[in-house]
């Protein structure tokens, strides 16, 4: 099996073969309109081993980790975990952080809770 695919399946713990291609994940995703690749495509493309386009896509940073797709998937595929695994694969590479400490000051306002910053860091950088 493709090494990238293998790594993603291992990191996510997801069995993409369980997917019956109903598209409910994409039917429920709050970030759908911001995404180039949608949750069901993440599952399908990983299954087919087409991982590089996903790694290059900005869609990775649009997933809000809201678990709606995980909750509602009738096959218990957990698409969010696939998105997370692809994202981790990108940001674990040297110099591929989506967000760096230098970016932060410009993004802040005085009401913004710390939680926003730590969460974004957890999701966008290593």
């Amino acid at each position: 099996m493709d090494k990238l695919k293998e790594q993603i399946l291992r990191t996510s713990g997801v069995n993409t073969l369980k997917c019956m291609r109903c598209g409910k994940c994409s039917g429920t995703c709050p970030s759908y309109d911001e995404m180039e690749y949608h949750p069901h495509q993440f599952v399908y493309m990983v299954e087919k081993g087409e991982i590089e386009p996903l790694m290059k896509s900005k869609s990775l940073y649009k997933c809000l980790s809201c678990f709606a797709c995980v909750e509602r998937c009738p096959r218990n595929v957990e698409p969010a975990k696939i998105v997370e695994a692809v994202r981790l694969m990108v940001i674990r590479q040297q110099g591929e952080n989506h967000l760096t400490a230098n970016d932060i000051p410009d993004l802040l306002d005085e009401d913004m809770p710390q939680q926003a910053i730590v969460s974004a860091f957890r999701k966008y950088s290593k």
Binding site: S12, E34, E71, L107
Partner: protein, 261 residues
């Protein structure tokens, strides 16, 4: 009774009211929130990678602390709560992860998911009981129509969080009834506010928060309550709809007569 309490980073800073009133109200209702010594930030969001170990160790440390004290582990912030519960679930169900986490932390007694993690709302419902809140309510918020905002982190994934029906929850509505107010049920109460995307995609967050606020308002609410500082921030930053957002603990304090003006 005493419980272990994990306040989290934001409650020590931008969301001090959430923290202060949580402690005051609990004490009034007979529960002392004992802050965990030297707790460390949970990281704000649970990392779903099965091979992500280091980012979850601070949670395991807090879980172990509560286990040694034989106490519930309580948090108010929805995000902390979500991270703690999911980490605990992984400690219970993923032996490989549990083995590695224990190796890192080298506790005297390894931790294997023994602690019961509950949210402040579960503390109110299951340990204290909403009836007791009703009895202690001195300022029933009779005329208030309140929309409970669950967001995503309180309920999902329901297999792990196991707090309420993820699609048709009632814990916050029951809480609102207990303090004498009228709950407003609206369809967006369990949809995401936009979360951490607020840092770089205001537009997305604005859309998502707008849907929530509009939906609450259109269904007749004059107030939204939440347990999550980030939800509160995102909802308040959306100017399109004029509806105040307050923390659950603030509202509880008001009902119990503990609110400082």
């Amino acid at each position: 009774m005493k419980v272990s309490y994990f306040p989290g980073c934001t409650l020590k800073n931008k969301a001090k009211d959430l923290d202060k009133y949580a402690r005051l109200c609990a004490l009034k209702l007979g529960v002392e929130l004992e802050e965990i010594e030297n707790w460390q930030c949970c990281g704000g969001a649970f990392s779903m990678g099965e091979d992500e170990i280091a980012s979850k160790l601070s949670s395991v440390r807090a879980l172990q602390y509560a286990k040694e004290k034989d106490q519930y582990l309580v948090s108010v912030c929805s995000a902390c709560h979500n991270v703690l519960k999911q980490t605990n679930y992984q400690m219970q169900n993923n032996s490989d992860f549990a083995f590695k986490a224990n190796n890192y932390l080298a506790f005297d007694n390894p931790y294997n998911g023994e602690t019961k993690v509950i949210h402040y709302l579960e503390l109110l419902r299951d340990v204290i009981g909403f009836d007791k809140i009703k009895e202690n309510t001195v300022n029933p918020l009779k005329d208030k129509k309140i929309a409970a905002y669950y967001g995503c982190l309180l309920l999902r994934p329901s297999k792990v969080l196991a707090m309420d029906d993820a699609e048709n929850p009632s814990i916050m509505e029951d809480f609102i009834k207990a303090i004498g107010a009228t709950p407003v049920v609206y369809p967006y109460r369990n949809e995401c506010c936009g979360g951490y995307a607020t840092l770089e995609d205001k537009n997305l967050v604005n859309k998502k928060s707008g849907l929530v606020k509009n939906s609450a308002k259109n269904n007749g609410a004059d107030l939204i309550i939440t347990a999550c500082p980030l939800c509160k921030y995102n909802l308040e930053k959306n100017n399109n709809t004029d509806i105040p957002v307050v923390y659950i603990t603030e509202l509880l304090a008001e009902a119990l007569g503990l609110k400082e003006e």
